[in-house]
């Protein structure tokens, strides 16, 4: 590419950072004020590179929630310019900077949304626990997996089809306490990006979406402490420079304590030793060796621990589970236009459940562990091209649900062995500006997965040694996106995305549980495959004050997995032996109106959609809606800043009721009436709706004081609507008297919940 460049081009490159903390800003815009088409944006490490014909320019640096900065450049030779942006919004600048303001219209990406954490923190939260995954559920195309749950489904895809990354490490279980809280402690998070449309080629391994979460790097200017005390958990984050402007650290911890407080009472009872808690620990350290080299080390460790003792009957249970991730990254700048990142990533999810009574002891455990290496390049030959390419290799180990038990001296258990897989990929992608009207993003990803030994084939008994391939699958995953600028404030975008998924999680419940196990593609289980076609119209109004968009999509899914009918989890079978395989389709339209600026901001999202599956082994292939199919889904999200002390937030959600399998009839077996179920997911619960509100109060502070406290008051489900969480039926039969009573119940779990959280900052 470089060869075709005119000789008089020169490159300006550097990092865009927050002026106060030195945190790099991801996705900040950099462009020529005179011709906004000559622009770029910062990558995941805050780096930008813009190659333009030599000349004089006024460059604008902008980032949502920050004041724009304009810099005059006399560009003759390559030069490095680092920019520090200050927080705050000034309305009048909108006029100055004209159209480039909003990438939603001008970028090629479809279905991509960035959510800076500060915006998320202003919204009401159940029990006052700020939760990025619950905020994502308020966006069109993203459905909650249930009341109060952090689990979600994107554009009709399964829960396992979301690639959730924390500093590039996949997080296999994102929920604490059965999914009611996500593992992401908002205090440790800098930015969250959701990609539900055209997944760029650097991402792979999942069909539906990418949620890319970046931790804060730590303030490299000065020490800062912030934290909070809430109803559920307390938080503390410490960050600061190790070497000023060169190196910083961040440590953030969160822990629940409700049952800790009750320990004095529990200790005196028959249940001494019973407890439940969860905690998270996020840490990050970075060191900038030079303008060209930077090292990042980040880690996450979180656990849920449940323990139950009944001392009187000598009965005990213990269930710890959680994730651990570690990411080591090295950024290197080969020159002004070629940026490299190398990552080595470890991540682990493990679950264990053990218990015993008297002479019986029992243990169940499962998990997944990856070693993952990546090499990614960003190459900016000129402002018309942004080229990315890279390679990735992952070694997976899957521990199935292994049961070990003992009865006195005799041990028993399942004879499952761990399964192993090697997943590799290579990709290249170019985002090309074709004149002022068209942008094209072309990408190709090649992915490959081998189930490897040690393994003994179920099909033919063959033995495989360590690393020896048992079965190999591979595929090309082309990705293409086109943007056609209709007018300065309006564009039309289209995208086609092919994706393959080699590891799977199949849940038998309405939402995912810590007990659900990830399984690899094997000689029995084929990779899931998906194609998504998406089309969108984007239009901004009133000098980009209002963003609107309509996106439609159709998805075609192959090798979808579910449990066979009449499946019972006895823990004694390899789950893949109870799988059935089929196809899926999902389609819908998403309407989005957003106001990002001003004292009153927020969005309205509406989705009309359908998500269906067909399995030849289930009702002879009848197409049925998934449990997360919602015909209508509406979210209204608003923030209002009244003055420096008070700001308010509100959320309204409405969704079509969840599909469930109705009762068809009852029949007699012995003295019991047995429920006979009708066609799968052929009935609906009543619609779900709810209003949440919040108010944040920041007491006035004197200028010298380094300490700042604030109070957040939040009310979840303000009008106490009893949204059904699940239903069940109960039948009383008495053949002796000849009477039987069948009843159906619906259970709601979250009534109106007020909460208060106290937060503080010290810097």
């Amino acid at each position: 590419m470089a060869a075709i460049l005119p000789a008089q081009n020169a490159t300006i490159s550097g990092y865009v950072k927050d002026a106060n903390s030195g945190e790099t800003l991801i996705g900040a815009n950099v462009y020529n004020q005179a011709d906004p088409g000559q622009g770029t944006s910062t990558n995941a490490y805050g780096f930008y590179s813009l190659t333009l014909p030599a000349g004089d320019y006024t460059l604008v640096f902008s980032y949502l929630g920050y004041r724009d900065q304009q810099t005059s450049i006399h560009l003759q030779a390559n030069q490095s310019v680092n920019i520090n942006l200050n927080e705050g919004v000034s309305m009048e600048e909108v006029v100055v900077v004209a159209e480039q303001r909003d990438r939603n219209v001008t970028s090629t990406e479809l279905g991509k949304i960035d959510l800076p954490i500060e915006n998320i923190k202003l919204l009401p939260a159940v029990f006052g626990e700020v939760d990025i995954l619950k905020t994502l559920q308020l966006l069109p195309g993203v459905m909650s997996s249930g009341e109060g749950s952090s689990g979600f489904y994107v554009r009709g895809g399964g829960a396992d089809q979301n690639l959730i990354l924390l500093d590039e490490a996949p997080v296999y279980n994102t929920g604490h306490l059965l999914g009611f809280f996500s593992v992401f402690n908002a205090d440790a998070i800098k930015n969250t990006t959701l990609i539900k449309g055209d997944m760029p080629a650097q991402y792979g391994g999942r069909l539906s979406s990418v949620v890319d979460v970046q931790m804060k790097e730590g303030n490299n200017q000065k020490y800062a402490v912030d934290g909070g005390i809430g109803l559920i958990a307390s938080r503390l984050t410490i960050q600061g420079p190790v070497v000023k402007e060169k190196s910083s650290f961040m440590v953030s911890a969160r822990r629940t304590y409700a049952l800790d407080l009750a320990q004095p009472l529990i200790r005196k009872s028959n249940f001494a030793g019973t407890n439940y808690y969860f905690y998270d620990l996020n840490t990050k350290l970075n060191y900038q060796f030079s303008q060209k080299d930077r090292l990042y080390l980040s880690g996450y460790f979180g656990r849920d621990v449940f323990a139950f003792n009944s001392n009187q009957s000598d009965f005990n249970l213990r269930m710890p589970y959680g994730n651990a991730t570690a990411t080591l990254r090295w950024n290197h700048l080969f020159n002004d236009r070629l940026f490299m990142n190398t990552s080595v990533i470890y991540n682990d999810y493990d679950f264990s459940f053990s218990g015993g009574q008297d002479l019986f002891q029992f243990k169940l455990f499962s998990g997944v562990r990856d070693w993952n290496t990546k090499l990614d390049f960003d190459y900016y030959p000129n402002y018309r091209h942004a080229i990315r390419f890279g390679i990735n290799a992952i070694h997976h180990r899957f521990v199935p649900n292994v049961v070990q038990g003992s009865s006195g001296d005799v041990t028993f258990g399942s004879d499952f062995t761990d399964k192993y897989g090697v997943e590799t990929a290579a990709y290249i992608q170019d985002e090309i500006k074709l004149g002022s009207k068209f942008n094209v993003q072309l990408g190709m990803r090649y992915s490959r997965f081998s189930q490897v030994g040690p393994y003994t084939s179920k099909l033919n008994g063959s033995e495989y040694g360590a690393w020896s391939p048992v079965t190999t699958y591979d595929g090309l995953e082309p990705r293409a996106a086109l943007r056609w600028q209709l007018r300065p404030s309006a564009s039309l975008k289209a995208a086609v995305t092919f994706t393959n998924q080699y590891i799977h999680l199949v849940s038998n419940s309405a939402s995912t549980l810590p007990t659900d196990v990830w399984v690899p593609s094997t000689e029995v289980v084929k990779p899931q495959q998906g194609i998504q076609y998406a089309l969108g119209v984007f239009k901004n109004w009133k000098d980009n004050l209002l963003e609107t968009s309509v996106e439609v999509y159709f998805r075609d899914l192959a090798n979808q997995i579910d449990y066979r009918d009449s499946y019972v989890n006895n823990l004694s079978n390899d789950v893949e032996d109870d799988f059935v395989f089929g196809v899926g389709r999902a389609y819908g339209a998403e309407f989005f109106l957003r106001k990002s600026k001003g004292d009153l901001n927020g969005w309205i999202g509406y989705t009309i959609s359908r998500s269906e599956r067909s399995f030849s082994a289930i009702e002879e292939g009848r197409w049925y809606p998934t449990t997360f199919d919602r015909t209508h889904d509406v979210s209204v999200v608003a923030n209002y800043r009244l003055n420096d002390r008070w700001s308010f937030g509100g959320v309204v959600v409405y969704g079509t009721g969840r599909a469930y399998t109705p009762v068809n009839g009852v029949y007699l077996i012995g003295q019991d009436l047995v429920t006979e179920y009708g066609p799968r997911n052929s009935s609906r619960l009543e619609p779900y709706h709810r209003l949440d509100i919040s108010a944040t109060y920041v007491p006035a502070k004197s200028a010298q004081k380094r300490f700042q406290g604030s109070w957040t008051f939040s009310v979840y489900n303000v009008y106490n609507h009893r949204n059904p969480y699940f239903t069940y039926t109960d039948i009383d039969t008495n053949l002796a008297t000849g009477e039987a009573q069948a009843k159906a119940y619906k259970v709601s779990i979250f009534p109106v919940i007020p909460s208060v959280t106290w937060n503080f900052k010290w810097k």
């Binding site: 306490l177 059965l178 439940y276 449940f306 009944s310 001392n311 009187q312 009957s313 000598d314 249970l317 269930m319 218990g355 009574q357 008297d358 029992f362 169940l364 038990g405 009865s407 005799v410 028993f412 038998n508 419940s509 549980l513 449990y563 009449s566 499946y567 019972v568 989890n569 006895n570 823990l571 004694s572 109705p662 009762v663 068809n664 009839g665 009852v666 029949y667 007699l668 077996i669 012995g670 006979e676 179920y677 009708g678 969480y725 239903t727 069940y728 053949l735 002796a736 008297t737 000849g738 009477e739 039987a740 009573q741 069948a742 009843k743 159906a744 119940y745 619906k746 779990i749 919940i753």
Partner: protein, 314 residues
């Protein structure tokens, strides 16, 4: 054992979350008007004191709020052709209804089929091999053929070889012993070269043989091992009274009906018992499986052994 333990955790954590906050209301669910299906409950036994082969034939009913005795009685399907075949022999089972019998016989028959004869309000009808043509034998296959109201049902079951208990004993209750109660520990030596499925029933004093709430197990976790395991008293479920669940009263006379069943028969009871505990947020509904072609229910063979004992006084 595994499934039971799993439920514990779910409920306990559920309690932590929900305690004092949840709300439950009754509602009228959607029901579907689909044609009622024929339901078979039939067994053939080999081993100790085998019951004669019998089939109870009923129709499923739509799900509504209350069924009275007339509705239940109306479930029985009469005048069907019910045939059992094995070894080239075909036996036709005649239908008998309890109110056709004299009081003494009626009492015996009712008790055999698991009903308390004293307060029996409805007229139970059974197709039963009164003439003893169907002889239950270990390792044999038994075909069932039913023609009723224009429909034909077919099913096959196998009576597996009997794997008896090695022994059983009563032990003090776990933890702090409760003097009036005891736990029942049995030992079985599972054969290694085949998959075995077990089901047990317990009779206490004059009661009926009751499977309790979790009566079936396969040998996947203990194939080929000689294992001590606890047999629970059917009187309670762990939800009702967890502290004394499964324990026996000292001084009671108990009888264990210990059986071996085939894979399909196991699957029926496994899904049956699991479906009673499902439908909540944490487990999907379970559709009860069937081995009846053209209908619902089960045609099951049992290899049976009985063991009697008095729970010893402390």
């Amino acid at each position: 054992m595994a499934r039971r333990s799993n439920k514990w955790i779910i409920w306990l954590i559920g309690l932590v979350v929900i305690s004092g906050m949840g709300c439950e209301e009754e509602y009228i669910p959607d029901t579907i008007d689909s044609p009622a299906k024929l339901v078979v409950e039939g067994y053939v036994e080999a081993g100790d004191q085998p019951m004669p082969a019998y089939v109870i034939l009923t129709r499923s009913r739509s799900f509504f709020q209350k069924l009275n005795p007339g509705d239940l009685e109306g479930s029985y399907v009469h005048n069907a052709l019910v045939q059992v075949s094995y070894d080239g022999i075909t036996a036709t089972l005649p239908e008998i209804c309890l109110n056709e019998l004299d009081t003494t016989l009626r009492e015996v028959v009712a008790r055999e089929f698991g009903f308390d004869p004293d307060s029996l309000q409805i007229n139970i009808c059974v197709y039963v091999d009164l003439s003893g043509q169907v002889v239950g034998q270990f390792g044999k296959q038994y075909q069932l053929h039913v023609e009723a109201e224009g429909e034909v049902l077919e099913a096959t079951t196998t009576i597996p070889e009997l794997v008896p208990l090695d022994s059983f004993r009563f032990e003090p209750t776990p933890g702090t012993p409760i003097d009036s109660l005891a736990q029942l520990i049995a030992t079985v030596s599972d054969p290694a070269d085949e998959t075995n499925y077990y089901r047990q029933f317990i009779r206490i004093n004059d009661g009926i043989y009751d499977p309790g709430f979790a009566s079936v197990s396969d040998d996947a976790l203990f194939n080929g091992k000689s294992l001590d395991f606890r047999i629970n008293s059917p009187e309670d479920t762990p939800d009702d009274n967890p502290e004394v669940f499964g324990l026996f009263h000292r001084g009671d006379t108990i009888s264990i009906k210990w059986t071996n069943i085939d894979a399909e028969h196991f699957k029926f009871w496994n899904t049956f018992e699991s479906s009673r505990n499902s439908g909540g947020p944490f487990s999907s509904y379970v559709r009860v499986s069937t081995n009846i072609q053209g209908g619902l229910g089960v045609w099951g063979g049992y290899a049976v052994a009985y063991y009697d004992a008095i729970v010893p006084e402390k």
